[in-house]
């Protein structure tokens, strides 16, 4: 067998080995149909391996291995948890399982919240038009088998439907109790035309987790998504965010990542309606055994849309930062404005930054650009601050925060932005 066919066979065998003897969760008609389809997709694609072009910079073994590597729980310290400054509806997951008793009542005007486990038992649910559907669409042009694995087996997650302007953010909090738990969570979020929602996520989730978010943002709807991944240093996780935007819809997603042994965050965005706007941003602060991968795919499928990707990474002591970002502009998407920047600041000689920023453009009247830089702290800037009497540690901190600021500006709510900035500063100080 020639090498390529052999690789495909190996990947399929690995998927079959993982699936054998593992029954799909029980459920109603719609859920069973979606899960069967997802399992078939996974068998066809096979499990990801490092030799896949798409996993070139991140070794997926820890995410696909039959055994979950246990991760030490983070010792609580006196730092205030993230987002505490914001009035919100708190929904708590413990090791990936929804805990109603620890959560607020899921009641919010204009917002309908339902537990996946419960909805999956029903024969019919609005989520059937989205659950596994956006994920399936996201398998082109590259396979994302971990997302199909999630659609097939996830029983935990929330189905959130927003019909008006949500008066408070919905906040998903992921706590860890079991040092060796694995979590599969799958959320579906549907914003009806003109609806508005802020969705917050934070917490370490589990020793290993696989999360899928499917978001359908109808015409004129606005979704703000802010998440903070962090704390426990030994956890490993893969997340997939699939979002479809209607005409004049807006989507902003920001992710702060601190710590974590291995994180792969994938975002797949379709701008399906004219004049939609999608901003995907993130800051990563990594220290030590830390591998963080942001993989973003934005498809401009309609005219006059705008997209921005802003990713900043500060790395040291062997930390590895990966950015793979792609803008695909269809022939129909004239007058597209696409922008992408990925930058890393390497604080010592052992850190690494690996990037593949791509443009694929089939329309001629577009404005698309990307930039990517990597380097150490600018010595002249450091000198400037030192010359003005700022001690070296503080000067470096200032420069690191200034470097991260451009990504934080992508958070629409200044209170949330300031909250995360403060957390990042505290993290940097602790590790200085």
């Amino acid at each position: 067998m020639m090498p390529r066919a052999k690789l495909v066979a190996q990947k399929r065998e690995a998927a079959a080995a993982l699936l054998d003897g593992r029954a799909l969760p029980e459920g109603g008609a719609w859920a069973t149909k979606a899960r069967n389809a997802a399992e078939a997709r996974l068998r066809e694609m096979g499990l990801p391996v490092k030799r896949d072009e798409y996993w070139r910079y991140t070794d997926p073994r820890r995410l696909t291995d039959a055994n979950v590597q246990p991760g030490k729980l983070h010792a609580q310290d006196d730092e205030t948890p993230v987002f505490d400054a914001v009035d919100r509806v708190k929904l708590v997951f413990v090791d990936g399982v929804f805990d109603a008793s620890a959560s607020d009542a899921p009641e919010l005007a204009g917002v309908e919240i339902c537990h996946l486990a419960e909805a999956a038992r029903a024969d019919l649910h609005w989520a059937r038009d989205l659950f596994g559907v956006l994920e399936a669409r996201g398998q082109v042009p590259v396979a994302r088998p971990l997302a199909s694995l999630n659609s097939a087996f996830a029983t935990e997650g929330l189905l959130i439907r927003v019909t008006g302007k949500a008066e408070k953010p919905v906040s998903l909090i992921y706590q860890r109790k079991d040092p060796a738990a694995e979590a599969l969570t799958h959320h579906v979020i549907r914003l009806e035309a003109g609806a508005e929602l802020t969705l917050l996520e934070n917490g370490p989730v589990a020793a290993r987790y696989n999360q899928v978010l499917e978001m359908d943002i109808a015409d004129g709807a606005v979704l703000h998504h802010v998440r903070a991944q962090g704390r426990d240093h030994e956890r490993a996780g893969a997340t997939h965010l699939f979002a479809r935007l209607g005409a004049e819809a807006q989507f902003k997603s920001f992710t702060l990542s601190a710590n974590g042994a291995l994180t792969r965050n994938e975002a797949v965005i379709w701008l399906d309606g004219a004049e939609g706007s999608a901003h995907i941003a993130g800051t990563t602060v990594g220290d030590g055994a830390f591998h963080h991968d942001d993989t973003v795919f934005i498809n401009h499928a309609a005219p006059r849309c705008e997209s921005r990707q802003v990713f900043k990474k500060v790395l040291r002591h062997g930390a590895v930062g990966v950015f793979q970002g792609k803008i695909l502009v269809d022939q129909a998407a004239q007058l597209t404005d696409g922008y992408q920047i990925s930058q890393s600041l390497l604080l010592d000689e052992n850190a690494q930054f690996l990037a593949k920023p791509e443009l694929e453009i089939y329309a001629d009247d577009v404005k698309c650009s990307h930039g990517s830089t990597s380097g150490e702290i600018d010595q002249s800037q450091l000198f400037y601050l030192r010359a003005r009497g700022v001690p070296e540690d503080q000067a470096k901190l200032l420069l690191v925060l200034a470097f991260l600021a451009e990504a934080l500006e992508e958070i629409a709510d200044p209170v949330l932005a300031e909250d995360l900035r403060g957390k990042m500063e505290a993290w940097l100080k602790r590790r200085a």
Partner: protein, 503 residues
């Protein structure tokens, strides 16, 4: 006044423009064929063909073994599928791997004995092979600038000019088959040392069946007294051209090398899989310029050359410098990534590229800058232009290894789209494995600026001319890196390649 056919006209385009465009659409100036008696090896590829090629070239056993090794490795390899190219399946058994003009079977002893038809071919292409016909250089200069030429016709080198003058300087410039005979120790030492036999599918194929190409050796401390040039011509039908170029620049030497290529118009596709290896030693400098103008196929995508080329320079020692400049206007499909391995400390690599794809052409081209030594520097400037139904991709790698501290890269790749049926793509890989290196990458994609076009049109230029001028402006940073003769040719080529792309 003759009535205008409205369907053919767009606002602002007069009839004359339309007619010019129509008459020129798909023009390819070098599409004729030389009728000359050829000797072919049997069609198809197997070990016997490899042996035959080796025998025809009178090669020593080690080279035959080397070729066979490459062939056996090739059999276990697959054609690369990662480029953004739609490559129809190639039947490697339907090609001729060796074709030589009959008159060359018995090697002529001097250019005077070469078939006049062959010399005419090159004269028609504007390439004088006769030594007395020195290329005119800069106007007003006391002495014309000299360029030594090695001309390769299908599989064999037909002649190399200025040999005596070069020999006096110690420079060896000859066909690679001749180098195997005359300088076996040099060939054995360097052949495959930059691009190993199993480097990739097409390099393996080339290693097995390469028939000729150029060999350049610049001794230590020598600044090559003139520019060296190889001119490649594919003439015979169904014949692949697999040339191999090897350039060795010893310590402190300096050479500028030019390469040009053309082929006749044919309905069928032809394969060109070349390998260029450059070894640059301490303080040496090599400048390699290419104007690639293989037949691109007609305006419906019929015919054209498949250009699958591996080019790599190895800056082996400190302060070595290499510079690739390419103007890619031809070929139906281009798969080409001239690369620099910056092994020596303080070594330097540069890559300047213009890639134009019109009609149904597909180009996937770029560079690799592999930084291994300390304080190494690289610079990439790439300009891609897509028109018609063409797809044009820049693909590049910048890799800073852990040991390559305090290194520097700057990359700029700009794409220009003319029309809404073509595509422009950018696929850079950036791998930074140390902190003190600085890497910057910028890329933009846009269309030809309407204001600039309007400005030119207002001053009486027709739309074609205006586009050509704007595009030449867009490419300026690269054009100015080309040697003089090439710069003029390239500028004209830019305009010709875009003919038929507007209106």
């Amino acid at each position: 006044m003759v009535a205008l056919d409205e369907s053919q006209l767009r606002e602002g385009v007069d009839r004359e423009t339309v007619e010019t465009v129509q008459s020129m659409a798909g023009t390819y100036k070098h599409g004729w064929e030389t009728e000359i008696e050829m000797e072919f090896a049997p069609k198809g590829l197997n070990e016997d063909i490899v042996r035959l090629i080796s025998e025809k070239n009178g090669e020593p056993d080690w080279l035959l073994e080397w070729r066979l090794d490459a062939y056996r490795r090739w059999l276990t390899m697959e054609s690369p599928d990662w480029a953004m190219l739609n490559i129809p399946e190639i039947d490697y058994q339907e090609q001729y791997y060796y074709a030589t003009p009959k008159s060359m079977v018995e090697k002529p002893k001097s250019l005077d004995e070469v078939d006049p038809k062959l010399l005419e071919t090159y004269a028609k292409l504007g390439i004088p092979l006769k030594e007395q016909a020195i290329l005119a250089g800069v106007e007003g200069a006391d002495e014309g600038r000299k360029v030594a030429v090695d001309a390769v016709f299908d599989s064999v080198s037909v002649g190399t000019t200025f040999r005596k003058e070069l020999a006096a300087a110690g420079v060896i410039f000859c066909s690679i088959s001749e180098a195997v005979r005359e300088h076996p120790e040099l060939v054995k030492k360097y052949l495959g040392s930059v691009v190993p036999q199993n480097d990739n599918y097409f390099a393996a194929l080339n290693s097995a069946v390469f028939s000729d190409g150029s060999f350049v050796y610049i001794p230590a401390g020598v600044k090559c007294p003139m520019e060296l040039s190889t001119y490649f011509r594919i003439n015979a039908e169904n014949t692949g051209q697999f040339e191999r170029t090897l350039i060795v620049a010893e310590k402190g030497s300096h050479v500028s090398y030019l390469e040009g290529c053309t082929a006749p118009k044919r309905d069928t596709h032809q394969l060109h899989a070349a390998v260029v290896e450059i070894v640059v030693l301490e303080d040496a400098e090599v400048k390699y310029s290419t104007v690639q103008n293989w037949y691109p196929g007609d305006e419906n995508g019929k015919g054209g050359i498949y250009n699958f080329v591996t080019k790599r320079a190895d800056c082996r020692e400190a302060r070595a410098k290499v510079m690739w400049t390419q103007v890619e206007t031809g070929s139906a499909i281009t798969w080409k990534y001239p690369s620099c391995v910056l092994r020596g400390d303080d070594s330097q690599g540069e890559f300047y590229s213009i890639a134009i794809a019109n009609n149904w052409q597909q180009a996937d081209t770029g560079t690799k800058m592999v930084h291994l030594g300390k304080n190494t520097r690289s610079r990439i400037v790439s300009k891609g232009i897509s028109a018609g139904h063409a797809q044009n991709t820049y693909r590049g790698l910048v890799s800073m290894h852990p040991r390559a501290t305090s290194s520097r890269n700057y990359t700029q790749c700009d794409s220009l789209l003319i029309g809404d049926k073509c595509g422009a793509h950018t696929v850079p890989y950036i791998e930074v494995r140390n902190a003190s290196s600085r890497v910057e990458h910028e890329a933009t994609t846009s269309k030809v600026d309407d204001d600039q076009l309007f400005y030119c049109r207002q001053r009486g230029m027709d739309e074609e001319e205006a586009v050509a001028l704007v595009v030449n402006g867009f490419c300026k940073e690269v054009l100015q890196e080309l040697p003089m003769e090439f710069a003029m040719e390239a500028q004209a080529l830019v305009a010709i390649s875009l003919e038929g792309s507007v209106g």
